[in-house]
């Protein structure tokens, strides 16, 4: 029996899954990966959430430290100008 494409709605909508599902399904290849990846997959992927949160926190922290230091240098510049004038 010949199946026409319009009779199979999934086939028309979801062409990606059949093509790429093996490549997406990282868990299938977990034995081949290193210990770090193994660790990240454990406990329902909670460590991925931790990683994302920590990345955001460290970027913000780094930014805050930079601004703090820049303001410090501006302060010392202004103070030294005042001393020079006096």
């Amino acid at each position: 029996m010949k199946i026409r494409l319009q009779d199979v709605p999934q086939a028309t909508v979801d062409t990606l899954t059949s093509t790429y599902s093996e490549k997406w399904d990282g868990v299938e290849q977990i034995e081949q990966t290193n210990a770090f990846i193994h660790f990240m997959y454990s406990n329902d992927l909670i460590f991925v959430v931790l990683g994302v949160t920590l990345i955001i926190w460290f970027v913000l922290l780094f930014f805050l430290i930079r601004v703090d230091k820049k303001v410090s240098s501006l302060e010392s510049k202004i103070n030294s100008d005042e001393n020079y004038e006096a």
Binding site: I46, V49, K69
Partner: protein, 226 residues
Amino acid sequence: MKTKKFRILKIWKYVVAVCMTLVITGGILINIPKIPILEETARNIFFHVPMWMSMFSMFAISFYFSISYLNTPDLKKDIKAESAAKVGIVFGVCGLLTGSLWARFTWGTWWTFAEPKMNLAALAVMIYYAYFVLRSAFDDEEKRAKLSAVYNIFAVTTIPFLLYIVPRQLESLHPGAEGNPAFSEITAPELRYILYPAFIGFIALACWIYNVVYRYKMVQHQLENS
């Protein structure tokens, strides 16, 4: 001057950095008791509640410097009060946004007018927003400082009523409604090991941001008057 271009940070700022990192890591990784509906979102207590604590501390600092300004006028104190109120609003907005997201997945709605704490918290943030609207209305620095200090004292008196006294008398989805305990008896003890460091970490982080904002405004002030 070139040799000491960047001053090293004060020690307490490193403590904040370490404390916050531990809070985030611990808050996500510790085992917490599972409660229906809340599930894993119970961890939000480590991040949502400290937002409000930080806001309260910033408003308290702002209040202190406003009174202090009225005692002995000094524009430095006005700038301190302004910076603290600004950082307080930022934390208040974070608290509103995190609360709204949390509410969507536990109470089923982004925003509800049946929930007094939610609405009164928004009102509190708006009262402080009006502080900045008032400030922008003056060109004269001393007049601005004096009137905004008076307004700030009014604004801070509303905070305990809006966020503590009134919501706890009414029916509310937040813990602690209708005179029940908000925290002491109903919260699992293991949450406290993260929650109290989170309070310290976030309040100290707010102080750090306040410190940078204040110094930026001082530099700006000095440049404008030189």
